[in-house]
């Protein structure tokens, strides 16, 4: 695991290329999970963007998320070093693609409760992944 990067956008092209979601990465760098909430339609969306994909509203507010949810589906990649890819439905509504980590990969289940943790990507940004709740 890489050490947290203070200014992720200085080094991570996946952060630098998307100024519209800088607030997300600034929060995640401090292990805080925030979600984009649209003040026009009162919906939270994923993945984050500056214009609401539900109503095209432009007033997006970054709200603290509970960091909990349930596994919508998953797959254990067994070709090579095994890991779990999943979609997790957050308690705030949206379903997001993520990894399930720090778990027994043979006991992961659809519907399982999970909670967020942050893990540094290769390029530096800290991405939300989930672990059994």
């Amino acid at each position: 695991m890489n050490a947290p990067v203070a200014k992720a956008d200085a080094v991570d092209p996946f952060v630098a290329g998307h100024p519209e979601v800088k607030a997300f990465w600034d929060a995640s760098a401090q292990d805080r999970f925030v979600l984009p909430f649209c003040k026009a339609c009162s919906k939270t969306h994923w993945y984050p963007r500056a214009i609401c994909p539900h109503c095209a509203g432009t007033e997006i507010e970054w709200r603290p998320a509970k960091g909990t949810g349930s596994i919508y589906t998953y797959s254990v990649m067994r070709h090579g070093s095994p890991y779990v890819i999943a979609y997790v439905t957050l308690d705030e509504g949206p379903t997001m693609m993520t990894n399930i980590v720090d778990c027994d990969i043979n006991k992961v289940k659809v519907g399982q409760r999970v909670k967020v943790k942050f893990q540094a990507a290769q390029e530096g940004r800290k991405v939300p992944v989930f672990t059994p709740a």
């Binding site: 990649m77 890819i85 693609m97 990894n99 659809v110």
Partner: protein, 385 residues
């Protein structure tokens, strides 16, 4: 305006190679183009419309049209929706022909992921990339997630999925060019190693070099040619993604592309004598069959079981060339070969062991990109004239 009856598929060619270390990708495109033109009885200087997708090396139609020596072009299209692109190209060619933009359209595909595999490119500026790249989402586990949810929602089983591969293998034994010609059993599929839960190795398509090409013409040009005429009678397309987080992996874009194609053609699923269904994985087939209306939603597993997709055995003969699961998935893109086998069936030129009797109406459907992430769907319905 409808495309029904406005265009005909008059040339079809599948490159026989499945492993081409000594050919360039552009060369595979060119050899396929030559084959399709020869099949139609046309020359390259008859081509005034050119269609290619993301597998075309260089700047899409600019590089390839120049390489191919296509100097009479009046229309180009590089719609890129992954492996389903070429099915959409047939529809786009018919639209261009119907509106007078061209009269002889060439569609080409070529790639060599077997002999010269390259990592899938990651574009840091793709809007989803910062949230998805690095998680290890690849093609196999993306489809694995679809299969996992389908099993959870509907009770679909690995045995049912295996029947899709079994049917494809029954067909591939008759195809001299098929990459895998051995007939397999449900037990063999289930005994093959898990690649990405719940998909086994034999639930996955083959990886092959190869290519293919199609010639789509106006009715006037078609009437001047000697080959059997395959009329384009309906088409539909639709992309589907994650819907802002309202992710639903239980259905595909075929829920829109299918009904659009059937409505334009004026036929129903029961009228389809042969179906080419994109088979990147066994689950892909099950979900598309449901969404195209060949069976009730959630019942795809039961529909494909017990040989129902085997020509001469079941109710819906599919992928009689062996499909992507056994024969060919050129350039990791299976849409063009789906049209090719449908054309063979409508012409009565499929292998006699798998030729569907009185095959007058056929469907080809493709899924491109990644079903579990974001994908394109394209459907075309064709009729023998």
């Amino acid at each position: 305006m409808s495309i029904k009856g406005k265009a005909y598929i008059m040339g079809a060619y599948e490159h026989p190679t499945r492993n081409a270390p000594d050919k360039s990708v552009a060369q595979i495109h060119a050899e396929a183009a030559r084959g399709a033109l020869a099949d139609a009885g046309l020359s390259k200087d008859d081509v005034d419309g050119y269609f290619c997708a993301g597998d075309a090396p260089g700047i899409g139609p600019l590089s390839m049209a120049d390489y191919l020596g296509l100097t009479k072009l009046k229309h180009v299209d590089s719609t890129e929706i992954g492996g389903s692109s070429y099915i959409a190209h047939v529809s786009h060619a018919a639209q261009a022909i119907a509106s007078g933009k061209c009269s002889v359209a060439l569609v080409t595909l070529g790639g060599k992921p077997l002999s010269a595999p390259m990592p899938r490119p990651v574009f840091a500026l793709a809007p989803d990339a910062s949230f998805e790249s690095g998680l290890g989402v690849v093609i196999a586990n993306s489809y694995g997630m679809c299969a996992m949810r389908h099993m959870y929602e509907y009770g679909t089983t690995s045995e049912q999925l295996a029947w899709v591969k079994v049917a494809a293998s029954h067909h591939a034994q008759y195809n001299a060019h098929a990459y895998k010609r051995n007939v397999v059993t449900v037990e063999q599929v289930l005994a093959s190693p898990i690649i990405a839960d719940p998909l086994h190795r034999l639930d996955c398509c083959v990886i092959t070099d190869g290519g293919g090409a199609l010639i789509v013409t106006s009715p006037e040009v078609a009437a001047s040619l000697k080959r059997p005429r395959v009329k384009v009678i309906g088409a539909g397309e639709s992309p589907k993604g994650q819907m802002g987080g309202e992710v639903d992996l239980t259905y595909t874009g075929a829920v829109r592309s299918g009904p659009a194609a059937f409505a334009e053609a004026g036929v129903r699923p029961a009228d389809i004598k042969y179906a080419s269904i994109y088979d990147s994985f066994t689950i892909t087939v099950v979900m598309q069959l449901e969404d195209l209306g060949f069976c009730e939603k959630g019942k795809g597993g039961w529909f494909v079981a017990d040989g129902n997709l085997i020509a001469g055995v079941g109710k819906l003969p599919f992928n009689t060339d062996g499909g992507g699961l056994c024969s060919n998935h050129p350039g990791n893109r299976g849409g063009l070969t789906k049209v090719l086998e449908a054309v063979r069936q409508l012409r009565g030129e499929a292998h006699p062991a798998v030729q569907v009797k009185n095959c007058d109406i056929a469907l080809a459907h493709g899924t491109g990109g990644s079903l579990g992430v974001r994908h394109g769907s394209a459907t075309v319905i064709m009729e023998r004239e």
